[in-house]
């Protein structure tokens, strides 16, 4: 009996509270509007950015491996290597890193933007700013890598801008690492 009275009391309280309507609070109509299309878009965006995150971290790991194998191409008379040139390991790791990087970038670039998107804040702001460094650096690294490979095949030592490839690649790697850190500690 006591339980029944309690249930009735709670029910009457809640029923009383129903007298007050959300529509009477003065929110704008568009604030209360249900937009299923936008929800779908948000979910697509979230899924694409998750893939972007996984591929971005994979690209970073491949870039680190490419960096670590870069020295294998150096001249080393003790090992009988008298001509400068990238090893296949370095070359294929570079190709894999580049492909993964540009795929990851695509998932971010083509992810649908949120409706009424405001200016980025916090770590996201820095993550986006860093893309202005690592994206051109990665494009340049790829082009310089192809040019260097051609020069090696022609028996030449890289010169001019091609000789700067390690520097450009380092800029790409470090800015990518920084971009990864800003978002890895964000959820």
């Amino acid at each position: 009996m006591t339980k029944l009275i309690c249930i009735l009391a709670i029910f009457s309280n809640i029923a009383f509270a129903q007298d007050l309507k959300l529509e009477d609070l003065g929110f704008k109509k568009e604030t209360l509007k249900v937009d299923l299309q936008e929800q779908k878009s948000l979910e697509t965006r979230s899924s694409m950015l998750s893939t972007h995150q996984i591929l971005g971290l994979s690209a970073l790991a491949l870039m680190a491996a490419t960096y670590l194998t870069a020295e294998e191409g150096a001249i080393n008379p003790a090992e009988g290597k008298t001509q400068l040139g990238a090893t296949d390991t370095h070359k294929y790791l570079g190709i894999a890193a580049g492909l993964t990087y540009f795929t990851a970038a695509g998932f971010s670039i083509f992810a649908p933007e949120p409706k009424n998107e405001k200016e980025s804040t916090g770590s996201t702001k820095w993550h986006k700013r860093l893309a202005y460094i690592h994206f051109p650096a990665m494009v340049l690294t790829t082009i310089l890598g192809l040019m260097a490979d051609k020069q090696f095949k022609d028996g030449k030592t890289p010169s001019g801008l091609v000789a700067q490839k390690p520097l450009v690649a380092n800029v790409a790697f470090l800015s990518m690492l920084a971009a990864g850190i800003t978002m890895t500690f964000n959820f």
């Binding site: 709670i10 309280n13 809640i14 009383f16 509270a17 129903q18 007298d19 007050l20 309507k21 959300l22 009477d24 609070l25 003065g26 929110f27 604030t31 209360l32 509007k33 249900v34 937009d35 299923l36 299309q37 936008e38 929800q39 878009s41 948000l42 979910e43 965006r45 979230s46 950015l49 949120p114 409706k115 405001k118 200016e119 980025s120 804040t121 916090g122 770590s123 996201t124 702001k125 993550h127 978002m183 890895t184 500690f185 964000n186 959820f187």
Partner: protein, 178 residues
């Protein structure tokens, strides 16, 4: 005479603070809701000041409605806010609505029954203790509402395969006036 004045003033102040008898209609004049998310050692907050509400007190009972748009909650990171809007289905269920009922006489530490509609799920919470202070013309309700994401079937965001805590304490800071 001076002692009598001090005694009466103290008595009046104590009375107004210890119990508050409400009657009539009330409107929320100022308010904020502040959620807290915990992830291992990291703590994140998101705040909304776009909170609106009303209250009616009659026949010794009061009922209040307080609502805020999900999109109005901002943390210090825009990407996190969009992620929060995604998992809470903000476009499909744009508002968080709290309906509270209580007796019309509020004590400083008052227990309330609340019905929360969030992310398309309605959940009832009983005997929530909040602090009520002020007069019957203007009063504040403050406290922490301890809800769980699982109560509202909200998928918890993860980082490196570890999900954020299920508990989502919400700081309530509401000012009502007649």
């Amino acid at each position: 005479m001076k002692h009598l004045f001090v005694f009466i003033t103290t008595l009046l102040l104590t009375t107004s603070v210890s119990a508050l008898t409400l009657s009539g209609n009330y409107a929320l004049t100022k308010g904020s809701l502040n959620y807290h998310v915990h992830y291992i050692v990291k703590h994140v907050q998101g705040k909304s000041t776009n909170v609106k509400g009303k209250g009616i007190c009659k026949k010794a009972k009061c009922s209040f409605i307080v609502a805020a748009p999900i999109k109005s909650f901002v943390s210090k990171d825009s990407n996190r806010d969009v992620k929060m809007q995604t998992v809470t289905k903000a476009a499909q269920y744009p508002m968080v609505v709290v309906r509270v009922s209580s007796e019309s006489t509020l004590n400083v530490n008052q227990t309330f029954n609340a019905q929360i509609k969030f992310a398309g799920v309605t959940k009832e919470y009983k005997n929530i203790t909040l602090k009520a202070m002020g007069t019957n013309k203007a009063f504040s309700i403050t406290g922490i509402l301890k809800i769980k994401l699982s109560d509202f079937k909200i998928e918890r965001p993860t980082l490196l395969a570890i999900a954020i805590n299920d508990e989502l304490p919400i700081d309530i800071n509401l000012m009502f006036s007649r």
